[in-house]
Symmetry: C2
Subunit: 152 residues, 2 copies
């Protein structure tokens, strides 16, 4: 995945749009490119800010409409970071997230065989796992150790 260039990803995107009967519009290209070229899991608003520079006429409504379209078509994934607004991810490979509860940074965790041992209820058909590992990144961790020693 990391070895793929953006252009490779755009090609894939184009092909998958065709497969799904979705028009390959200029707006969609710009939106998708913005998503595919970052791993920061931007909000719709953040995508908007980024994309508006290249295409000032593009509207936030269009972002939302396409996020929904892409997600439903399986071209995009939503990531949920407890309590925040919609965050998006063009990386469809199975992977998880390391979330710093302090600075809200999100780091991808390549899939590492995370699965429940033990029994799932009979008949449940697993599609995917969504895992967030919450905690403090090394940066915030050192800061909060200082704080904690004040509290006792």
């Amino acid at each position: 995945m990391d070895r793929q260039t953006i252009e490779d990803r755009m090609q894939t995107f184009r092909r998958r749009c065709a497969e799904k009967g979705l028009a390959y519009t200029h707006q969609r290209q710009v939106i998708y490119r913005a998503l595919a070229s970052t791993n920061t899991h931007p909000t719709p608003e953040a995508i908007y800010d980024k994309v508006k520079k290249q295409m000032p006429s593009l509207s936030l409504g269009t972002i939302y409409k396409n996020i929904r379209t892409f997600t439903e078509a399986g071209l995009l994934q939503e990531v949920n970071l407890l309590h925040e607004s919609l965050r998006l991810d063009a990386n469809l490979e199975s992977h998880h997230h390391l979330v710093c509860v302090e600075c809200k940074s999100v780091t991808d965790l390549p899939e590492q065989e995370i699965r429940p041992r033990g029994e799932l209820p009979a008949g449940f058909e697993v599609q995917r796992y969504n895992v967030e590992v919450l905690g403090l990144c090394s940066n915030c961790s050192s800061k909060s150790k200082t704080k904690r020693s004040n509290h006792g």
Copy 2:
């Protein structure tokens, strides 16, 4: 946990409020009781609907304020079910969720040693794991099998 009665949980809640310096108000009791007596992970709105029957003067704003207070004090957990609004959980034991992508039902998964093998970035201090197992419950699974055979 399941063997605890609601009254046990209210006792615990009361004690923990005291520990945190939170007043044990009538409203808080009613809100917490509503949460502690279900495992359906209600939205703030759903809690409001339930609670208003017992205390019609209670406002949605108070629900939100207290959800936040409780969550920050560690008396409540937020659950994120991709894309939906805030869902809450009075069950603080480490556990995960089985989410049906079709009917949106949520089932608690008692903790089953779910943890990433492999390496986490150095210095990351893990606080907890948030795991959602997404898929089809047995009920929806059988329905969608029929559907899928139409598609090919």
